[in-house]
């Protein structure tokens, strides 16, 4: 009888590990460990310093916040190519108003409101005019970038506000404030996605919009909410961006569209919508950050860095897909 009980426990443990291993996030975490192990062997002195590890965390904070926004949009069945210049325009508006002597709180609110509006207008055109999200958001990206240049006339605006600079560059103990903000956002949005009716509706809308509508979900209102919420996250990222650059730069946010999609997809979110997780997106962003950091520490030629980074992303996604028991 005792032997029988032990056998049952062993089976349960095996089942548990099988379940954990089947999680996309677990596999991604293992990939990350492989990367870290390689760096530990190749660059033990420079990679495993607290300075470098916190560098990586700070460097991935902004893209993670933007990628959280992208994850929600992609899970809901869309895509947002305006995230980079939405955060760029937010930063420009804040820095312009601060430079003109406006109240800092109002300046920050104005900038973030601009990003929220961008998300809102995107969703209105997508849901009411019924244009594909790809076209709408790419058009909006042009508008946002153009407006940033109209406001600045191409020049950088210096940001001297202590609060704005502090939230991007100060530390709480050894941890950058920006990283703490990113982790808070990840926890909140992960909870919303996995444990609230809003999250479940998001997955339902992205998985099968017709079925979602028939089951009583107001899909139009929900997609508007998702894009608007995404705009809010881009606004927060824009505020952090000008703190990190100590300046409003009209080119800031360049490549964030592609990078946020890469982090989201590497993190396991399906490009066809309906499934994905914020934890996966965080791991995807950290993996991309570790790769970028590693390429510099390993002195990989600058001409090869993008090739190597792209190859690693493809390799990780391919290996994961081949070993995923749930793949169709």
């Amino acid at each position: 009888m005792f032997a029988n009980s032990k056998s049952i426990n062993t089976t349960r443990t095996q089942e548990y590990f099988k379940f954990v291993f089947r999680l996309k996030e677990t596999r991604l975490f293992l990939f990350l460990l492989v990367m870290v192990a390689i760096m530990a062997v190749l660059r033990p002195d420079t990679f495993f310093t607290s300075q470098n590890l916190f560098n990586i965390l700070r460097q991935v904070s902004l893209i993670t916040i933007v990628a959280v926004s992208q994850t929600y949009v992609i899970i809901s069945g869309g895509i947002d190519l305006s995230v980079g210049f939405s955060l760029g325009l937010c930063g420009i508006i804040i820095s312009y108003l601060l430079d003109a002597g406006f109240n800092p709180v109002l300046s920050i609110l104005a900038g973030i409101t601009a990003s929220v509006l961008i998300g809102f207008v995107n969703s209105l055109v997508i849901t009411l005019v019924k244009l594909p999200p790809f076209i709408v958001t790419i058009g909006m990206a042009y508008i946002a970038r153009g407006l940033a240049f109209v406001i600045t006339e191409g020049f950088t605006i210096r940001v001297t506000n202590q609060f704005v600079s502090g939230i991007a560059n100060e530390y709480v103990g050894p941890i950058p404030v920006m990283t703490i903000i990113m982790l808070v956002i990840v926890v909140i949005f992960s909870y919303i996605l996995s444990s609230t009716p809003f999250g479940m509706k998001t997955k339902a809308v992205g998985g099968n919009i017709v079925a979602a509508r028939l089951s009583g979900i107001n899909t139009t209102r929900h997609r508007i909410l998702v894009h608007t919420l995404g705009g809010l996250l881009c606004g927060i990222a824009g505020l952090l961006m000008i703190g990190r650059l100590n300046a409003g730069n009209p080119n800031a946010g360049m490549n964030y569209d592609v990078d946020s999609i890469a982090a989201t997809v590497v993190g396991g979110t399906s490009m066809t919508g309906g499934e994905g997780s914020i934890l996966g997106t965080l791991l995807g962003a950290v993996l991309l950050g570790v790769i970028r950091n590693a390429l510099v520490l390993l002195k990989v030629s600058m001409y090869w860095q993008t090739v190597v980074a792209g190859s690693i992303i493809l390799l990780v996604c391919s290996v994961d897909n081949l070993t995923n028991k749930d793949r169709k």
């Binding site: 560098n55 600045t152 650059l245 001409y303």
Partner: protein
């Protein structure tokens, strides 16, 4: 069981593949798993030319310097070639060459942070945005790293000195060259690259001020930006030509201007006899355009000298010496007459 085995094999393969990729791609002529530098005290290193201090002993210890460009562009190839050749000649310098892919400010900041954590001995940087990079240059200096700037200066920081072209003066020189070839009269259209890039802003200002002050019969008809994107630069230039058909001269302020001009001139069957291209920089494409009779003149920087000057300056600083705060390497007009001799 079978799938589990497959997974383990694939993960192991991934680990080896990644390790191999990193090792195989160890850049700048160095292998990534290169052993720690061997002590070279016994090996006499050739003496570098001092920048200001004299009779300094040649630096014998291994030193690691990083050169960070504002963007990956062939304009900087002569800098890399010059620096690598000089580092090899000295024997004790390891070089790390880095640049953000598309002139991204954020990426250049990340490169700076990574170099600081690597504790390199010296950094030479051409900032994509001087305002944004200044605090990170200060961080490097505070961490004990010697920092110099080149190509684009970052004046409001703790960098030891700047070397390269004084861009406002280069703009002034460009205005004189344009005026000479136009005979003091005509219309000019100008294409910028990235309008926030400090060195380009200064060049443009130099041209505009000089034209206004010294050549009232030369009008700047239009100034537009191609954002350093080759295809976009061609499109913007074509639109400028349509909007200003009576222009006499096209001038590119940044690296994308010359190639865009050559592409448009070829497409329209123009040569320098029809409309003039007078542009910055001696890139391979511009030199070819000059030889083909499409470009009238180039105002070339002397970037082939920068690599050696950077290493000399960092060596001098590490040896306790000082360097000039501004080291103007100047510009030179290149035409078909001096195309083969101007670097002498």
């Amino acid at each position: 069981m079978k799938k589990s085995l497959v997974f383990r094999i694939l993960v192991t393969a991934l680990a080896f593949a990644l390790a191999f990729t990193f090792v195989a791609c160890g850049g700048s002529g160095e292998s990534a798993d290169q052993p720690e530098p061997e002590p070279q005290e016994e090996q006499p290193a050739p003496k570098p030319e001092p920048a200001e201090t004299e009779d300094e002993p040649a630096p014998a210890e291994k030193r690691e310097y990083a050169i960070v460009y504002p963007v990956i562009h062939q304009f900087f190839d002569p800098v890399t070639e010059g620096a690598e050749a000089y580092a090899e000649e000295l024997g004790n310098i390891d070089l790390i060459i880095q640049a953000p892919e598309a002139g991204s400010v954020q990426q250049q900041i990340e490169i700076m942070e990574n170099l600081i954590s690597m504790k390199v001995d010296g950094i030479a940087i051409g900032s994509t945005d001087p305002e944004a990079l200044a605090p990170y240059i200060d961080q490097a200096v505070d961490a004990g790293i010697q920092v110099v700037t080149f190509d684009t200066d970052t004046p409001n920081c703790k960098r030891a000195g700047y070397m390269g072209t004084m861009n406002y003066e280069a703009g002034v020189e460009m205005a004189h060259v344009i005026a000479k070839h136009l005979g003091g009269k005509g219309g000019v259209i100008i294409l910028q690259d990235v309008p926030t890039q400090g060195n380009l802003v200064e060049r443009l200002q130099g041209i505009q001020d000089t034209m206004a002050a010294e050549y009232p019969d030369i009008k700047i008809l239009d100034v537009q930006s191609g954002y350093a994107d080759p295809a976009k630069s061609v499109e913007v230039l074509e639109a400028m030509i349509e909007a200003n058909p009576d222009f006499d001269c096209f001038t590119g302020i940044g690296g994308a201007g010359g190639p865009a001009g050559i592409a448009v001139w070829k497409q329209r069957g123009w040569t320098s006899e029809d409309k003039k291209i007078i542009t910055f920089d001696n890139t391979d494409e511009n030199i070819d355009g000059l030889r083909a009779g499409i470009i009238t003149a180039l105002v070339s920087q002397r970037q082939h000298m920068w690599g050696k000057i950077i290493i000399d300056s960092l060596n001098t600083l590490l040896d306790g010496g000082t360097i000039p705060e501004q080291n103007d390497t100047g510009v030179i007009e290149v035409t078909i007459e001096n195309i083969d001799t101007y670097q002498n």
